[in-house]
């Protein structure tokens, strides 16, 4: 069960992609979840539905539309070319954009649930104590909704590691750029190199188990962000 240099390259790329996507989604997903949990706007339901939409399409189909949208004749492709960024397909950042879109519901939903469960009261109290919105976020929302954030990070990370269809469609299988572990494993299977596939699958499962276990463990033991509940 020896892993080749290419297998390690694919694993390292997957780790970089999943970490980047998780960070991007925590940054993007948190304001969306906050807004969804607190707004009374008529746009609430449409936005919530749009966030959940990537779940509906099969990943390869979503990837196919992204390929067209990000291509030279698509709206996203026209924009990125106008900005001098070139085209997104077949690049690492193209995968980041696509995976972020695809994993969005897995990050927004747990954060939304945690904030909704918290209710309006704690933030009202913070406001009467003259906490600024940023202050309230870091000292009230983040600690109280911490399990939601950790679940969001876990799901976003795991979902990106396991992501395959979208990457397959827009990646182009470039070593160290878009050939992630799931694609590499798929190639092993297609090439009938089953023992290499087993080796890579075992390493990826073991690694993912350790990461997920540590995160969940961290949630229970209470890390630096531990909630100081006074129920």
């Amino acid at each position: 069960m020896m892993l080749s240099a290419e297998d390690f390259g694919a694993l390292w790329l997957t780790l970089r992609l999943a970490t980047t996507v998780t960070l991007v989604l925590l940054l993007l997903g948190t304001p969306i979840a906050l807004w969804l949990a607190r707004t009374r706007s008529a746009w609430r339901e449409p936005v919530a539905a749009i966030v959940a939409l990537p779940l509906v399409l099969p990943p390869t189909v979503l990837g196919f539309y992204l390929l067209i949208a990000m291509g030279p004749e698509g709206p996203v492709g026209a924009l990125t070319e106008a900005l001098g960024l070139g085209l997104l397909p077949f690049t690492f950042w193209g995968l980041v954009v696509a995976s972020s879109l695809y994993s969005m519901p897995f990050v927004v939903q747990p954060i939304y649930n945690a904030i909704a469960a918290m209710g309006e009261r704690p933030l009202e109290v913070a406001a009467t104590l003259r906490a600024s919105p940023w202050d309230a976020f870091f000292t009230v929302v983040l600690p109280m909704a911490r399990p939601g954030f950790i679940t969001a990070a876990v799901l976003g990370f795991a979902h990106t590691v396991g992501e395959f269809g979208v990457v397959l469609m827009i990646g182009g299988n470039i070593p160290d750029e878009t050939r992630v572990a799931s694609v590499q494993m798929y190639d092993h299977v297609e090439a009938l190199a089953y023992s290499q596939a087993h080796g890579l699958a075992a390493v990826m499962l073991a690694f993912s188990f350790i990461v997920l276990f540590s995160l969940l463990r961290f949630q229970r033991s209470g890390g630096p962000l531990a909630a100081r509940h006074v129920d």
Partner: protein, 250 residues
Amino acid sequence: MGQGHAAEAQLRVAVASNFSLAASEIAELFEQSADVEVQLSFASTGKLYAQILHGAPFDVFLSADSDKPLRLESEGRVVANSRFTYATGALVLWSADESYIQDGPAQLRAGEFRRLAMANPRVAPYGLAAEQVLDALEVPAQVASRRVLGENISQAYQFVASGNAELGLVARSQVMIGGRLQRGSAWPVPPLMHTAIKQDAVLLTNGSNEEAGRVFLAFLRSEPALRVLEDHGYVTAQEQLLQPGMVMAP
């Protein structure tokens, strides 16, 4: 209970994705001439191979290569003496842009593209042939490194059709219908530049309808089926004799 249509036999055929269009047409013709209902299942050759190896109940396997049918034969999954080449694939250098390809080989060597799409040589016979073409044309390594790989030839086609890759080495069956280029510009790769893309068919022991399978395989070599193959850009018998001077009207 009326038994009128229940007598119709069923035939399960596993088809490599690149042959899906032609297979559908051939199956339709076959159903008109025989009292057999054909069920086609499309997937990549590698996946179908794994499924057949693990007992998938197919009667016939139309592979995209000659390697998997041979392996199945040595695994004892194939009815003796049933293996034959039903189609030979051809490659074409293709661009979705009508005026892009002027002198295909020169443009490949000079690297006149941002991306060149092709199938993954490791898993797809068309990809292996494409790699041999790049070698035969002596395309420099730093130019060849700008290639993007599809898992199969359909994906390589999508990369080019969507404009994300300016050029691609795709299957002639994807861009030509009825002997005519459907869109864009092309350079037909001389079939001598790569090992022949032989697509083999076999009758499987997993199946439950060996008799209908035999009739179907015979039909694959019949005149109507050969016309479908030619129509979809697979290499014809005459073309194989004529070699290297190729004709392709845009």
